[in-house]
Amino acid sequence: MAYQFDFVPVLANTDLLLRGALFTLELTAIGAILGVALGTVGAVVRAWKIQPFAWIFGVYVELIRNTPFLVQLFFIFFGLPSLGLKITEWQAAVLAMVINLGAYSTEIIRAGIQAIPRGQLEAAAALAMTRFEAFRHVVLLPALGKVWPALSSQIIIVMLGSAVCSQIATEELSFAANFIQSRNFRAFETYALTTLVYLCMALMIRQLLNWIGRRFVMRNSR
């Protein structure tokens, strides 16, 4: 007997899926902002070789980029409490996302900073810019502009990767999917629809980041 597909029991739980999707977006937003901030600090420290922080960030980048996100998440959520540090599941999820994105964006933004010709800083000094002005207008924004597409892709990868946070019971989209399929036994339909929601979110975030990039970051750099 052929299997009859039935999406109605899934659609009946649209509110749960949407709430999950919203939570995934919230986690991604916080993770992206803090992660890129951490990455910016790391990139500056690494590009300008400010010791000993450059070395510390170097080790951090290699450790994070060469281990799976899921293991990082488990380490934070199950490992840290045994050191006496209690955190909730959504805090663990955000922390893992920030640490993960921080490592990748350190390397991405560092590439952007190193692509800026030295003469640009000298020119900024000649124009009597303060060090902070020079950093902001001559180093940081042009560097971010150069690597914005790579940074956007990494943020989307982190958003998609956050699906595994359901494993520590963070109530995001894939958690909602697990919950729904455990009640209606329509596993395939539930996950198919959830996958579609993830795809839409990925496309949406791509558009949003493209817009942010054009509007704020790549305004005066090319």
Partner: protein
């Protein structure tokens, strides 16, 4: 009950590591074969295979690996076939890898000067022969470093298969953490296991990239 010595833990994790390694190899080789096929479709002059390949790549790059795993695991079960976590993991990870490799390799093929296609066409080679004998040998050089770099993503991707119950390194770690009540140490060792697999790959990718850039 938790009579696990440190070496018991390490020995069990080493067994899990072997499964991680095997799954990575299967996914990488299988993904390479399918990826080559998808890449060939992706650069086709015919719009239908080209768009099909593009959709395939977009789908796998725009959705979580976890969902791909679930869909393969539950989807194949719907066909009435009993599927083991191992087989589902191998299939899903192979497809995932093929999509990324296809896109990476397309970039490499695109970077070969267009005149090479025209020159080989003028030698009366058909498009597949042009690709096989003229373009791919040159693209291969460029492709080595990013392909090795992507293999790190494949190894790390295998961790997600623990969620559908495949007993690789992460799953083994989870069971040991529950049995020993030492999650900090166990997950630290699990992370170390992945690091030992991935770091040499990362290093060689970087080395290859620098070497090929220097001589190019």
């Amino acid at each position: 009950m938790s009579d696990f010595s440190f070496w018991d833990i390490v020995r069990n994790l080493a067994t899990g590591l072997q499964w991680t390694l095997l799954l990575s190899l299967v996914a990488f080789v299988g993904g390479g074969v399918i990826g080559l096929l998808v890449m060939t479709m992706r650069i086709s002059r015919n719009a239908f295979p080209r768009n099909l390949a593009r959709t395939y790549i977009e789908l796998f790059q725009g959705t979580p690996l976890l969902m791909q795993l679930f869909l393969v695991f539950f989807g194949i079960a719907l066909l009435g076939v009993d599927i083991s976590p191992w087989l589902a993991a191998a299939i899903a990870l192979t497809l995932f890898t093929s999509a990324y490799l296809a896109e990476i390799w397309r970039g490499c093929v695109d970077s070969i000067a267009h005149g090479q296609w025209e020159a080989s066409a003028s030698l009366a080679l058909n498009p597949l022969e042009q690709l096989r004998y003229v373009i791919l040998p040159q693209a291969l050089r460029i492709a080595v470093a990013p392909t090795v770099g992507f293999s790190v993503q494949v190894v790390k991707g295998t961790a997600v298969t623990s969620i559908i119950g495949f007993t690789e390194l992460t799953k083994t770690g989870g069971m040991l953490a529950n049995a020993t009540f030492e999650p900090f140490m166990v997950y630290g060792l699990v992370a170390l296991g992945y690091f030992l697999l991935c770091y040499p790959l990362s290093l060689s990718a970087r080395y290859l990239e620098r070497r090929l850039h220097a001589s190019a």
